[in-house]
Assembly symmetry: C2
Homo-oligomer: 156 residues x 2
Amino acid sequence: MKQVRSSEWTGAFKQHRLRLTKPRQLIVDVLGATSDHLSAEEVYLRVHPKYARIGLTTVYRTLDVLVRMGIVSRLDFGDARSRYELVERSGKPSHHHHLVCSSCKRVVEYDDFMDEEVKLIKKLEKALSRKHGFGITGHVVQFLGLCPACKTLARA
Amino acid sequence: MKQVRSSEWTGAFKQHRLRLTKPRQLIVDVLGATSDHLSAEEVYLRVHPKYARIGLTTVYRTLDVLVRMGIVSRLDFGDARSRYELVERSGKPSHHHHLVCSSCKRVVEYDDFMDEEVKLIKKLEKALSRKHGFGITGHVVQFLGLCPACKTLARA
DNA sequence: ATGTTATTGATAATGGATATCAATAACATC
DNA sequence: GATGTTATTGATATCCATTATCAATAACAT
Protein backbone atom coordinates (compact mmCIF):
# COMPACT_ATOMS: atom_id res chain seq x y z
CA MET A 1 0.00 0.00 0.00
CA LYS A 2 1.96 2.97 -1.19
CA GLN A 3 1.51 6.59 -0.30
CA VAL A 4 -0.98 8.58 -2.35
CA ARG A 5 -0.74 12.32 -2.86
CA SER A 6 -3.88 13.97 -1.56
CA SER A 7 -4.15 15.78 -4.87
CA GLU A 8 -4.63 12.42 -6.54
CA TRP A 9 -6.95 10.85 -4.04
CA THR A 10 -9.93 10.76 -6.38
CA GLY A 11 -7.96 8.65 -8.84
CA ALA A 12 -6.88 6.30 -6.08
CA PHE A 13 -10.51 5.92 -5.04
CA LYS A 14 -11.59 4.96 -8.54
CA GLN A 15 -8.81 2.41 -8.82
CA HIS A 16 -10.08 0.74 -5.67
CA ARG A 17 -13.69 0.87 -6.95
CA LEU A 18 -14.59 3.16 -4.10
CA ARG A 19 -17.31 5.70 -4.78
CA LEU A 20 -16.70 9.40 -4.83
CA THR A 21 -19.30 10.58 -2.35
CA LYS A 22 -20.05 13.98 -0.92
CA PRO A 23 -19.08 13.09 2.67
CA ARG A 24 -15.75 11.73 1.48
CA GLN A 25 -14.97 14.81 -0.56
CA LEU A 26 -15.85 17.14 2.28
CA ILE A 27 -13.75 15.19 4.77
CA VAL A 28 -10.68 15.37 2.55
CA ASP A 29 -11.39 19.08 1.98
CA VAL A 30 -11.46 19.72 5.72
CA LEU A 31 -8.16 17.93 6.24
CA GLY A 32 -6.62 19.83 3.33
CA ALA A 33 -7.72 23.19 4.67
CA THR A 34 -5.97 23.04 8.03
CA SER A 35 -2.61 22.33 9.54
CA ASP A 36 -4.24 21.18 12.77
CA HIS A 37 -4.28 17.56 13.77
CA LEU A 38 -7.99 16.96 13.93
CA SER A 39 -9.82 14.27 15.85
CA ALA A 40 -12.74 12.46 14.21
CA GLU A 41 -15.19 14.62 16.12
CA GLU A 42 -13.40 17.80 15.08
CA VAL A 43 -13.58 16.72 11.46
CA TYR A 44 -17.29 16.06 11.95
CA LEU A 45 -17.81 19.54 13.42
CA ARG A 46 -16.04 21.19 10.49
CA VAL A 47 -17.96 19.27 7.87
CA HIS A 48 -21.32 19.79 9.55
CA PRO A 49 -21.84 23.47 8.61
CA LYS A 50 -21.44 22.58 4.94
CA TYR A 51 -23.34 19.33 5.05
CA ALA A 52 -25.60 19.04 8.03
CA ARG A 53 -26.64 15.44 7.51
CA ILE A 54 -23.11 14.11 7.88
CA GLY A 55 -22.89 11.34 10.50
CA LEU A 56 -20.07 10.80 12.95
CA THR A 57 -19.99 7.13 11.97
CA THR A 58 -19.23 8.09 8.40
CA VAL A 59 -16.37 10.29 9.52
CA TYR A 60 -14.80 7.41 11.44
CA ARG A 61 -15.25 5.05 8.52
CA THR A 62 -13.91 7.47 5.95
CA LEU A 63 -10.85 8.34 8.01
CA ASP A 64 -10.17 4.63 8.31
CA VAL A 65 -10.35 4.18 4.57
CA LEU A 66 -8.08 7.16 3.96
CA VAL A 67 -5.52 5.84 6.43
CA ARG A 68 -5.55 2.41 4.84
CA MET A 69 -5.01 3.98 1.42
CA GLY A 70 -2.02 5.98 2.64
CA ILE A 71 -3.67 9.35 2.04
CA VAL A 72 -4.00 10.19 5.72
CA SER A 73 -1.85 9.48 8.77
CA ARG A 74 -3.35 8.44 12.07
CA LEU A 75 -1.54 10.09 14.97
CA ASP A 76 -1.57 9.43 18.68
CA PHE A 77 -0.57 12.19 21.05
CA GLY A 78 -1.73 10.46 24.21
CA ASP A 79 -4.98 12.34 24.68
CA ALA A 80 -7.17 9.28 24.28
CA ARG A 81 -8.33 9.94 20.75
CA SER A 82 -6.82 9.42 17.34
CA ARG A 83 -5.85 12.46 15.32
CA TYR A 84 -5.45 12.73 11.58
CA GLU A 85 -3.43 14.68 9.03
CA LEU A 86 -3.04 14.52 5.26
CA VAL A 87 0.18 12.78 4.29
CA GLU A 88 0.77 15.40 1.60
CA ARG A 89 -0.47 18.88 2.14
CA SER A 90 0.75 22.03 0.45
CA GLY A 91 2.69 24.30 2.78
CA LYS A 92 3.78 21.54 5.13
CA PRO A 93 7.15 19.83 5.06
CA SER A 94 6.51 16.55 3.29
CA HIS A 95 8.37 14.56 5.88
CA HIS A 96 8.12 15.72 9.46
CA HIS A 97 7.66 14.45 12.97
CA HIS A 98 6.04 15.71 16.14
CA LEU A 99 7.08 17.20 19.44
CA VAL A 100 4.23 16.80 21.92
CA CYS A 101 3.59 18.44 25.27
CA SER A 102 2.51 15.58 27.50
CA SER A 103 0.59 18.01 29.69
CA CYS A 104 -1.45 20.27 27.37
CA LYS A 105 -0.98 18.12 24.23
CA ARG A 106 0.26 21.02 22.18
CA VAL A 107 2.03 19.74 19.09
CA VAL A 108 4.97 21.22 17.19
CA GLU A 109 5.91 19.83 13.80
CA TYR A 110 9.61 19.71 13.10
CA ASP A 111 11.86 18.65 10.25
CA ASP A 112 15.28 19.33 11.71
CA PHE A 113 18.01 16.88 10.71
CA MET A 114 15.44 15.15 8.55
CA ASP A 115 17.98 14.03 5.94
CA GLU A 116 20.00 12.30 8.58
CA GLU A 117 16.90 10.83 10.15
CA VAL A 118 15.51 9.52 6.90
CA LYS A 119 18.83 7.90 6.12
CA LEU A 120 18.86 6.10 9.45
CA ILE A 121 15.24 5.06 9.13
CA LYS A 122 15.80 3.61 5.69
CA LYS A 123 18.76 1.67 6.99
CA LEU A 124 16.76 0.36 9.93
CA GLU A 125 13.81 -0.56 7.73
CA LYS A 126 16.05 -2.63 5.55
CA ALA A 127 17.76 -4.33 8.47
CA LEU A 128 14.53 -5.09 10.34
CA SER A 129 12.76 -6.25 7.24
CA ARG A 130 15.55 -8.72 6.46
CA LYS A 131 16.02 -9.87 10.03
CA HIS A 132 12.37 -10.38 11.00
CA GLY A 133 10.59 -10.77 7.69
CA PHE A 134 8.28 -7.82 8.22
CA GLY A 135 6.96 -5.79 5.33
CA ILE A 136 7.48 -2.36 6.81
CA THR A 137 4.83 0.22 5.99
CA GLY A 138 5.54 3.10 8.31
CA HIS A 139 7.18 4.48 11.39
CA VAL A 140 6.49 6.71 14.34
CA VAL A 141 9.05 9.16 15.66
CA GLN A 142 7.92 11.48 18.38
CA PHE A 143 9.40 13.51 21.19
CA LEU A 144 7.55 14.05 24.44
CA GLY A 145 8.08 16.81 26.96
CA LEU A 146 6.72 19.90 28.61
CA CYS A 147 6.10 23.03 26.59
CA PRO A 148 7.30 26.36 28.04
CA ALA A 149 3.89 27.20 29.52
CA CYS A 150 3.41 23.82 31.22
CA LYS A 151 7.01 23.85 32.44
CA THR A 152 6.31 27.10 34.27
CA LEU A 153 3.08 25.78 35.78
CA ALA A 154 4.88 22.67 36.99
CA ARG A 155 7.26 24.85 38.99
CA ALA A 156 4.42 26.65 40.78
CA MET B 1 11.78 13.01 36.51
CA LYS B 2 14.70 10.77 35.78
CA GLN B 3 14.71 7.10 35.07
CA VAL B 4 14.70 4.72 38.00
CA ARG B 5 16.12 1.21 37.91
CA SER B 6 13.40 -1.26 38.76
CA SER B 7 15.72 -2.83 41.28
CA GLU B 8 15.69 0.45 43.19
CA TRP B 9 12.01 1.21 42.93
CA THR B 10 11.31 0.75 46.64
CA GLY B 11 13.84 3.46 47.44
CA ALA B 12 12.28 5.79 44.90
CA PHE B 13 8.89 5.17 46.48
CA LYS B 14 10.15 6.09 49.92
CA GLN B 15 11.73 9.27 48.64
CA HIS B 16 8.37 10.34 47.23
CA ARG B 17 6.63 9.43 50.49
CA LEU B 18 4.66 6.76 48.67
CA ARG B 19 3.73 3.71 50.68
CA LEU B 20 5.10 0.27 49.98
CA THR B 21 1.89 -1.70 49.64
CA LYS B 22 1.25 -5.29 48.70
CA PRO B 23 -0.58 -4.47 45.44
CA ARG B 24 2.28 -2.24 44.33
CA GLN B 25 4.91 -4.86 45.09
CA LEU B 26 2.97 -7.55 43.24
CA ILE B 27 2.42 -5.35 40.20
CA VAL B 28 6.13 -4.58 39.90
CA ASP B 29 6.86 -8.29 40.40
CA VAL B 30 4.57 -9.23 37.54
CA LEU B 31 6.19 -6.73 35.21
CA GLY B 32 9.64 -7.95 36.24
CA ALA B 33 8.78 -11.58 35.59
CA THR B 34 7.87 -11.27 31.93
CA SER B 35 9.16 -9.85 28.69
CA ASP B 36 5.61 -9.43 27.41
CA HIS B 37 4.06 -6.01 27.03
CA LEU B 38 1.11 -6.39 29.36
CA SER B 39 -2.10 -4.39 29.35
CA ALA B 40 -3.59 -3.24 32.65
CA GLU B 41 -6.08 -6.08 32.57
CA GLU B 42 -3.35 -8.63 31.88
CA VAL B 43 -1.40 -7.32 34.86
CA TYR B 44 -4.56 -7.64 36.92
CA LEU B 45 -5.05 -11.25 35.80
CA ARG B 46 -1.48 -12.16 36.72
CA VAL B 47 -1.64 -10.58 40.15
CA HIS B 48 -5.03 -12.04 40.96
CA PRO B 49 -3.93 -15.66 41.65
CA LYS B 50 -1.48 -14.39 44.27
CA TYR B 51 -3.70 -11.72 45.74
CA ALA B 52 -7.35 -12.27 44.95
CA ARG B 53 -8.61 -9.00 46.39
CA ILE B 54 -6.61 -6.86 43.97
CA GLY B 55 -8.83 -4.36 42.14
CA LEU B 56 -8.49 -3.35 38.51
CA THR B 57 -8.66 0.30 39.54
CA THR B 58 -5.58 -0.15 41.68
CA VAL B 59 -3.71 -1.66 38.78
CA TYR B 60 -4.50 1.34 36.59
CA ARG B 61 -3.51 3.76 39.32
CA THR B 62 -0.30 1.97 40.18
CA LEU B 63 0.80 1.71 36.56
CA ASP B 64 0.20 5.44 36.27
CA VAL B 65 2.38 6.14 39.27
CA LEU B 66 5.13 3.87 37.97
CA VAL B 67 5.06 5.58 34.58
CA ARG B 68 5.25 9.02 36.16
CA MET B 69 8.23 7.92 38.23
CA GLY B 70 10.08 6.63 35.19
CA ILE B 71 10.08 3.02 36.38
CA VAL B 72 7.67 1.81 33.72
CA SER B 73 7.09 2.79 30.08
CA ARG B 74 3.62 3.15 28.65
CA LEU B 75 3.45 1.78 25.11
CA ASP B 76 0.86 2.10 22.38
CA PHE B 77 0.76 -0.53 19.67
CA GLY B 78 -2.53 0.58 18.18
CA ASP B 79 -4.73 -2.06 19.73
CA ALA B 80 -6.81 0.38 21.75
CA ARG B 81 -5.22 -0.25 25.12
CA SER B 82 -2.04 0.90 26.78
CA ARG B 83 0.67 -1.61 27.38
CA TYR B 84 3.45 -1.48 29.93
CA GLU B 85 7.03 -2.63 30.39
CA LEU B 86 9.70 -2.08 33.01
CA VAL B 87 12.23 0.49 31.86
CA GLU B 88 15.04 -1.68 33.23
CA ARG B 89 14.66 -5.40 33.27
CA SER B 90 17.40 -7.99 33.46
CA GLY B 91 17.88 -9.85 30.20
CA LYS B 92 16.48 -7.12 28.01
CA PRO B 93 18.53 -4.56 26.10
CA SER B 94 18.39 -1.42 28.20
CA HIS B 95 17.57 0.80 25.25
CA HIS B 96 15.39 -0.67 22.56
CA HIS B 97 12.45 0.11 20.31
CA HIS B 98 9.58 -1.80 18.82
CA LEU B 99 8.57 -3.25 15.50
CA VAL B 100 4.81 -3.80 15.48
CA CYS B 101 2.61 -5.84 13.17
CA SER B 102 -0.32 -3.56 12.44
CA SER B 103 -2.52 -6.56 11.78
CA CYS B 104 -1.95 -9.04 14.62
CA LYS B 105 -0.12 -6.58 16.93
CA ARG B 106 2.81 -8.90 17.40
CA VAL B 107 5.79 -6.94 18.73
CA VAL B 108 9.51 -7.47 18.15
CA GLU B 109 12.01 -5.59 20.26
CA TYR B 110 15.12 -4.45 18.44
CA ASP B 111 18.32 -2.63 19.28
CA ASP B 112 20.01 -2.54 15.90
CA PHE B 113 22.03 0.61 15.15
CA MET B 114 21.12 1.82 18.62
CA ASP B 115 24.37 3.78 19.09
CA GLU B 116 23.69 5.75 15.96
CA GLU B 117 20.06 6.22 16.87
CA VAL B 118 20.81 7.42 20.37
CA LYS B 119 23.33 9.90 18.99
CA LEU B 120 20.75 11.34 16.60
CA ILE B 121 18.06 11.44 19.25
CA LYS B 122 20.33 13.32 21.64
CA LYS B 123 21.16 15.82 18.94
CA LEU B 124 17.48 16.30 18.08
CA GLU B 125 16.53 16.65 21.73
CA LYS B 126 19.04 19.42 22.15
CA ALA B 127 17.95 21.22 18.97
CA LEU B 128 14.22 20.95 19.69
CA SER B 129 14.65 21.92 23.30
CA ARG B 130 16.53 25.08 22.33
CA LYS B 131 14.30 25.95 19.39
CA HIS B 132 10.90 25.45 21.05
CA GLY B 133 11.63 25.72 24.74
CA PHE B 134 10.37 22.26 25.55
CA GLY B 135 11.78 20.23 28.43
CA ILE B 136 12.08 16.92 26.67
CA THR B 137 11.34 13.85 28.76
CA GLY B 138 11.07 11.02 26.28
CA HIS B 139 10.64 9.78 22.76
CA VAL B 140 8.80 7.18 20.76
CA VAL B 141 10.43 5.35 17.88
CA GLN B 142 8.45 2.56 16.32
CA PHE B 143 8.21 0.72 13.04
CA LEU B 144 4.91 -0.56 11.69
CA GLY B 145 4.37 -3.29 9.17
CA LEU B 146 3.08 -6.76 8.49
CA CYS B 147 4.72 -9.75 10.11
CA PRO B 148 5.50 -12.78 7.92
CA ALA B 149 2.26 -14.57 8.88
CA CYS B 150 0.00 -11.58 8.22
CA LYS B 151 1.82 -10.82 4.98
CA THR B 152 0.94 -14.27 3.73
CA LEU B 153 -2.69 -13.96 4.76
CA ALA B 154 -2.93 -10.61 2.99
CA ARG B 155 -1.95 -12.28 -0.27
CA ALA B 156 -4.71 -14.89 -0.01
C1' DA C 1 -0.10 0.64 70.51
C1' DT C 2 -2.21 4.48 68.18
C1' DG C 3 -3.48 8.14 65.15
C1' DT C 4 -2.99 10.13 60.70
C1' DT C 5 -3.63 9.74 56.11
C1' DA C 6 -2.24 7.45 51.81
C1' DT C 7 -4.21 3.73 49.52
C1' DT C 8 -7.53 0.51 48.17
C1' DG C 9 -11.43 -1.53 45.66
C1' DA C 10 -16.51 -1.86 44.62
C1' DT C 11 -19.42 0.74 41.89
C1' DA C 12 -20.96 3.87 38.62
C1' DA C 13 -19.95 6.82 34.94
C1' DT C 14 -17.39 8.63 30.94
C1' DG C 15 -16.24 8.78 26.25
C1' DG C 16 -14.03 7.22 21.98
C1' DA C 17 -14.89 3.92 18.74
C1' DT C 18 -17.56 0.07 16.46
C1' DA C 19 -21.63 -3.10 15.02
C1' DT C 20 -26.20 -3.21 13.05
C1' DC C 21 -29.30 -2.46 9.46
C1' DA C 22 -32.80 -0.16 6.79
C1' DA C 23 -32.62 3.87 3.71
C1' DT C 24 -30.01 6.30 0.28
C1' DA C 25 -27.17 7.60 -3.53
C1' DA C 26 -23.08 6.43 -6.95
C1' DC C 27 -22.44 4.89 -11.11
C1' DA C 28 -22.30 1.24 -14.74
C1' DT C 29 -25.36 -0.19 -18.21
C1' DC C 30 -28.62 0.38 -21.41
C1' DG D 1 -31.69 10.24 -19.31
C1' DA D 2 -33.78 6.26 -16.96
C1' DT D 3 -32.80 2.05 -14.32
C1' DG D 4 -30.85 -1.57 -11.54
C1' DT D 5 -27.12 -2.99 -8.68
C1' DT D 6 -24.68 -2.36 -4.76
C1' DA D 7 -21.50 0.54 -2.13
C1' DT D 8 -22.32 3.90 1.22
C1' DT D 9 -24.62 6.36 4.68
C1' DG D 10 -26.33 7.63 9.26
C1' DA D 11 -29.44 6.82 13.37
C1' DT D 12 -29.16 3.85 17.06
C1' DA D 13 -27.47 0.75 20.23
C1' DT D 14 -23.47 -1.17 22.08
C1' DC D 15 -18.76 -2.12 23.38
C1' DC D 16 -14.91 -1.57 26.20
C1' DA D 17 -10.84 0.82 28.14
C1' DT D 18 -10.26 4.08 31.46
C1' DT D 19 -11.54 7.35 35.18
C1' DA D 20 -14.37 9.43 39.12
C1' DT D 21 -16.40 8.63 43.62
C1' DC D 22 -16.15 7.49 48.29
C1' DA D 23 -16.39 4.67 52.37
C1' DA D 24 -13.30 1.12 54.25
C1' DT D 25 -8.61 -0.32 54.97
C1' DA D 26 -3.80 -0.58 55.95
C1' DA D 27 1.09 1.84 55.99
C1' DC D 28 3.91 3.84 58.83
C1' DA D 29 5.43 7.79 61.78
C1' DT D 30 5.04 8.81 66.50
